[in-house]
């Protein structure tokens, strides 16, 4: 087993991504659920898909921690900015 | 010519000038400490032939001390400032009995809308005057700011009040004048080539004078 799984099964991840995309479409247009819940689920699915691409296609899962940090540094900054900008409208 | 903040003419001057003075004292101490220290070192430790400098890489205790003192001072300053900030600009800072005046800014003039006899904005007896802000003394004034075009800024130095006027936003500011007299309202945000002349007169009047003026001005406006 150790040598057989040297690299992730890319085709499997491709199927995974395709299924998630289909799920997103179904969620967005077919499921009659409250709008806010729908929004949350869609964002969750998008992040999930993005994480799959980052972890397996861009090999972040197999990189050292310091390269992972480099890749993740901008994300909190972006989140801070968006939250501050949104807070303008809820006070 | 004066060398200090402008004369005091609103209730904000107390806390703001006090805070200014407090910061001036704190920073003054730091300033003297550093500059005198620098000059002293420059004189005392200037190079002399045959001498070698003291070989050290630092001193942890000294560093902890001069990290802690500014940290504590700054946090304290932040808490005190925030106390006043909440009173001046906080979400619930506007006194409920404040007298409303509408100020509409456009390139390059201030259009001041007065509530008329009923004391409410948005009613039929409102009237608008260009570049003249009359306010009764000793009464909280609610200024409802709006802009026609670009960002302007409502600034009366003697009141220590400043608020940007942003198009697309309804911004409220308040102040309470304490000294009757004539002041100037200026635009302090670059708003185009006429920015420098976008000014209005501010008249702080006793309630009787204000009422008399308003009666007359309302009449003039309706003609």
């Amino acid at each position: 087993m150790e040598t057989a799984h040297k690299r992730p099964n890319y085709i499997l991840i491709w199927v995974y991504l395709a299924v998630l995309t289909a799920a997103e479409l179904a969620l967005a247009f077919e499921l009659p659920i409250p709008r806010n819940l729908k929004l949350l689920l869609l964002l969750f699915l998008a992040v999930w898909k993005a994480a799959l691409v980052g972890l397996f296609f861009m090999h972040l899962k197999f990189e050292k921690w310091n390269l992972r940090i480099l890749a993740l540094v901008p994300l909190p900054l972006a989140v801070i900015f968006i939250l501050a900008g949104m807070s303008e409208h809820i006070w | 010519m004066h060398w200090w903040l402008p004369p005091k003419a609103s209730t904000f001057t107390g806390p703001i000038d006090g805070l200014f003075l407090a910061i001036l004292i704190i920073t003054g101490i730091a300033f003297v400490l550093v500059e005198v220290g620098l000059i002293w070192f420059v004189v005392k430790y200037r190079a002399r032939p045959g001498r070698k400098a003291f070989y050290t890489h630092g001193n942890t205790r000294a560093e902890v001390i001069w990290t802690t003192i500014p940290a504590v001072t700054m946090v304290a300053l932040g808490l005190i400032s925030n106390h006043y900030w909440v009173q001046i600009k906080g979400r619930n800072s506007i006194p409920p009995n404040a007298y409303p005046i509408g100020v509409h800014a456009k390139q390059f003039e201030w259009q001041v809308t007065y509530p008329g006899a009923d004391g409410k904005l948005g009613t039929a007896d409102d009237f608008t005057v260009r570049n003249q802000l009359h306010v009764p003394v000793g009464r909280p004034i609610l200024v409802q700011l709006s802009s026609e075009d670009v960002i302007h800024s409502f600034y009366v130095p003697q009141f220590r009040v400043r608020q940007d006027v942003v198009p697309g936003m309804d911004i409220k500011a308040w102040f309470q004048a304490t000294v009757p007299g004539t002041y100037e309202l200026g635009c302090s945000q670059l708003c185009g080539l006429g920015h420098y002349r976008m000014r209005a007169q501010v008249f702080v009047q006793t309630q009787e004078d204000y009422d008399a003026w308003m009666k007359q001005a309302a009449q003039e406006a309706s003609q």
Partner: protein, 588 residues
């Protein structure tokens, strides 16, 4: 894959057979690129200064014809009398040139390029060709910005901060092509900075000499590294924002147009989200180079090296969460204002740590007052004033009074001129011999320093006073306001001092050019410093070292008891030193 290092190794051999164009114009040598940045940005510094002089003329002598102003066209200054619309162009372009085309490229473009490979011990940048593009995109951006001064309806005129919607709509500002050229130019500058930062970060992470561990790097390299990270992450935000502004200007989008649901405050959030890290881009490299120079001038190790490094990192991190302090009175959510105030005040702590550490370095030293050292000490003295005056603005209630007045003008010039520019004069003098092989004239350097120091304080200190009195920024004629009329004598005093300050800078420029050809030939290590760059001949050759030196110790071993002389270079092997582990030891 051939590594860059290996190529440089082979290529530089003994004589340099590159053509003139490859050597000096489309050069990929980090030192030449640094020098290209130096010449171009010194030129823009002069342009920015000239614009400032015109503003000072108008403020000191409003309505009087400016000497030599007759050459300006009717649309700017008919008969030499400056028009209001030209005045706000001056304000805008002075800020833009000084920040984007003078201070930032002088600190980062010049010194990151020149110093990083020399100080960490490598042959060149990781990506020399990208480095060349970084210069040329900057140059194109500069040309575009310069050309905008000459278009028919004039240059951009919404302040260097370009607050929308004034900047977004031509009918508000009165300029169309000028505003658009500004946006285009800034996009180029952003691209240039991103390409540069990418290079600096990769080079510092990957290409250090054997033995050059993270905590043996000079503080100048540390600060340039952190600055590069700030630039890498901040400039794309500016580029994005300016692209949207440009779209608002030319294809009618509505990002910042409140009439169609856009948000004017959004521009300010975007701009200052970039702009505050930018402020630290403009001061951190200066702090780093000053640390190097002060340690050298004091002949003492830097006091608290590690806390200096952590202070740089802390400032950079905090720099991302304080941008709202530019917007306290902008109508921003006041609760957000409270949190921005606290984070802003906290920044005072690492700044104080750095100041005290510089003083600690001078304490019990053996101070040599060469020209760079004079500038470095002046940097500390002036940076303190600029830093302390920042506390006034950080306290939100006080900011109500002094926001957008001359107090802030004084503050930012104390940091940018008293801080960055003094450090730059020092740094240029300090590394001039390694760039050109000659020393700048010491006597004229001292004259320039003292006159600058005096006139500079005469110009900017009184601005605190007029600012406290309520004099707003960017006023074409403050005498419009009766309460500002009594301040006219101060304005005249500032203006005259400013003219003298500008004249004094000509001493520097003349000294710079004169020394290029006539300066004293520089020895290899004129300042008796420890850095790796001083192991090279002056000027440093193409490709730097035949073989990169090994590093045995930290960069500030002055007055070490181990040796007789009062400095101990990083590359000097003492009998007690062990060889650093080979090549990729750093991570294993």
């Amino acid at each position: 894959m051939t590594s860059v290092a290996a190529t440089a190794h082979g290529a530089h051999a003994h004589h340099d057979d590159r053509s003139f164009v490859r050597k000096y114009i489309f050069s990929t040598d980090h030192k030449i690129i640094g020098i290209q940045f130096l010449f171009v940005s010194l030129f823009f510094l002069l342009v920015g200064g000239l614009l400032a002089m015109q503003m000072r003329w108008q403020l000191g002598f409003p309505g009087k014809p400016m000497p030599g102003g007759g050459i300006l066209p009717e649309t700017m200054a008919p008969g030499g009398v400056i028009l209001p619309e030209y005045y706000i162009q001056l304000v805008t372009m002075h800020g833009t040139f000084m920040i984007f085309f003078a201070i930032m490229p002088l600190l980062v473009g010049v010194f990151a390029n020149f110093l990083i490979p020399l100080k960490i011990g490598t042959h060149d940048m990781a990506f020399p060709r990208i480095n060349m593009w970084s210069f040329w995109t900057f140059f194109i951006g500069g040309l575009v910005m310069l050309s905008s001064l000459f278009v028919p309806d004039g240059a951009a005129r919404a302040g260097w901060t370009m607050y929308a919607p004034l900047s977004a709509r031509h009918d508000y500002s009165g300029a169309s092509i000028g505003q658009e050229l500004w946006s285009v130019s800034i996009i180029f500058v952003g691209l240039s900075s991103i390409l540069g930062s990418l290079n600096y970060i990769t080079t510092i992470i990957n290409n250090r000499a054997p033995g050059m561990t993270w905590f043996r790097m000079p503080l100048s390299v540390w600060s340039l590294f952190i600055t590069a990270i700030l630039g890498l992450l901040a400039l794309p935000v500016l580029s994005g924002a300016v692209i949207m502004l440009l779209f608002d200007q030319i294809i009618g989008t509505h990002f910042f147009d409140p009439g169609a649901g856009g948000q004017a405050l959004l521009w300010q959030h975007l701009f200052w989200f970039f702009g505050h890290p930018e402020v630290y881009i403009l001061i951190l490299p200066a702090m780093g180079m000053v640390s190097d120079i002060i340690s050298n001038g004091s002949r003492k190790p830097i006091f608290g090296y590690h806390s200096m490094v952590f202070a740089i990192v802390a400032i950079a991190f905090l720099g991302w969460i304080v941008w709202g302090h530019h917007m306290f009175v902008s109508g921003m959510n006041p609760t957000l204002g409270s949190s921005f105030m606290v984070s802003t005040l906290v920044i005072a702590v690492p700044s104080a740590v750095k100041t005290f550490n510089w003083m600690g370095t001078m304490w019990r030293g053996n101070l040599r007052f060469h020209v760079p050292m004079l500038h470095a000490v002046a940097f500390v003295a002036m940076f303190v004033i600029g830093g302390l005056s920042g506390i006034f603005m950080a306290a939100t209630p006080v900011d109500m009074q002094i926001h957008d007045t001359y107090f802030i003008v004084a503050h930012l010039h104390y940091v940018l001129f008293g801080g960055s520019l003094f450090a730059l004069f020092g740094a240029i003098t300090y590394w001039y011999p390694k760039m050109f092989g000659r020393l700048m004239n010491e006597g004229w350097g001292k004259v320039h320093f003292w006159l600058t120091f005096i006139f500079y304080n005469c110009v900017f200190f009184p601005m605190h006073i007029t600012g406290m009195a309520g004099e707003m920024r960017r006023l074409y004629d403050p005498n419009q306001y009766t309460f500002l009329q009594p301040l006219q004598p101060i304005r005249v005093f500032i203006s005259i001092s400013a003219f003298l300050l500008f004249a004094t800078q000509l001493i520097f420029f003349v000294n710079f050019w004169w020394s290029l050809w006539k300066g004293k030939k520089a020895p290899q290590n004129p300042w008796e410093d420890n850095g790796l760059e001083w192991s090279l001949p002056s000027p440093a050759p193409h490709g730097n070292w035949e073989r990169v030196p090994n590093v045995y110790r930290g960069p500030y071993e002055f007055s070490s008891p181990q040796v007789a002389e009062d400095y101990l270079p990083q590359y000097k092997k003492l009998p007690t030193d062990r060889e650093p582990a080979a090549a990729s030891a750093a991570t294993h």
